[in-house]
Symmetry: C2
Subunit: 237 residues, 2 copies
């Protein structure tokens, strides 16, 4: 199964359509996006494989999706922690932080230590709006994730990858290949360079919006908010 990709520019336009014309608030979209991320984590790394999940959040909406996912993971019985070195200014992000504090989810400032004691990483650093280069501290963070053996799920795109042309030729991220990727709404063009388990989430796309952007409406099973669409390098679904 493969789904048509959407460019970064169209992805931004689609989100704007959902909010300006479709009646959606960012709170609602992020809630469902983050919920999808948490369900993908459950499928790739159920609690039986380890409950310590480190959610690495960037300053924008990708990081916000990570904050929502961390909240759901805490509700599922994981013991998530969050690394959020460059907090977004949007009041929504501050509220998501408050929600995590209410669940006693720790925010760490020592990334190396957090990475060494986790069983899974959620890379919610950058999504489709990433235009490079990686600013501090994220170059160093991506390098550490890249050279770690801890499995990673990236949200929307492997952070450091160009949304169109994929992994950087050199430097942090050049050899970054997360074990799993969840594309939100539609895959981004860089998925052609990706090998690993691939999910799609964000179950709010309508047929009219899909048609406008030439996308497929994913056929999610039952009540699930996530659909596995990828085949990895060994040919397993």
């Amino acid at each position: 199964m493969s789904l048509k990709a959407i460019s970064a520019k169209d992805a931004a336009s689609l989100d704007k359509d959902l909010m300006d014309m479709g009646g959606w608030s960012l709170d609602q979209l992020m809630e469902l996006a983050g919920l999808s991320v948490s369900q993908a984590v459950w499928k790739v790394h159920p609690p039986s494989k380890g409950k310590n999940v480190l959610v690495v959040c960037g300053p924008g909406n990708n990081g916000g999706d990570g904050l929502v996912a961390a909240r759901h993971l805490a509700q599922y019985g994981y013991t998530p922690s969050v690394y959020y070195p460059k907090e977004g200014k949007n009041e929504l992000y501050q509220r998501l932080k408050t929600q995590l504090h209410s669940l006693s989810v720790p925010f760490t400032t020592d990334f190396a230590s957090a990475l060494s004691s986790t069983t899974f990483v959620v890379d919610a650093i950058f999504g489709f709006s990433f235009g490079g280069p990686l600013r501090a501290p994220f170059g160093e963070i991506v390098s550490q994730i890249e050279s770690s053996s801890v499995p990673v799920l990236s949200v929307d795109a492997p952070s450091s990858w160009d949304i169109q042309s994929g992994p950087p030729k050199e430097g942090p991220g050049a050899k970054f290949m997360p074990q799993a990727l969840i594309s939100l709404t539609a895959p981004k063009p860089c998925v052609q360079y990706y090998r690993g388990r691939h999910f799609i989430g964000g179950r709010f796309l309508t047929k009219s919006i899909a048609d406008k952007y030439g996308l497929d409406c994913p056929q999610y099973p039952g009540i699930e908010q996530v659909l596995e669409i990828g085949v990895d390098a060994e040919g397993r679904l």
Copy 2:
């Protein structure tokens, strides 16, 4: 399994705590509440039993939960329709309507006809803030639902029931016993008069809030947003 009940007054105070101190927006709470409702519908009445679901929405937040549920049901492949005779003024409700229009979910004004052609009803008319009496057109609506053989899931409380003392002694709702009930956050005292399948939803309660109000934290299975807690009159879970 039984869970401690929460009074209408405490339920209102709890929601206020979540929003004033817990960092939640109404958009987020309603999204997860409505998602829970949609998952309970799936369990009670999967699409194989009939895809036509009539969602009856009242003017307040209970109706808003119904609107969110209708959207998720449309995404699941049901063909929901909505009866919403007294629209809430809150701009959130208007946005939820827009979202449903985008999914081509019809809003009906002919309740009797809609009821006769549906396979399932979601009663999202009144929740914990209901203080009676049933104002028009809801007295007539409850009477029609009550005398119909179509199975019903009520959201938070069977509409017309007093939140503390249960079904009215006479008039519309006196014999109303929906096949299923989903309590949001915690059961309301009137559940003691209820016999049928009973679910709990609203997976956003924290231990500190539960402790403050003397509630239980439901042990939701896996990634599910709904938990069946009830035993019906025949002793089936």
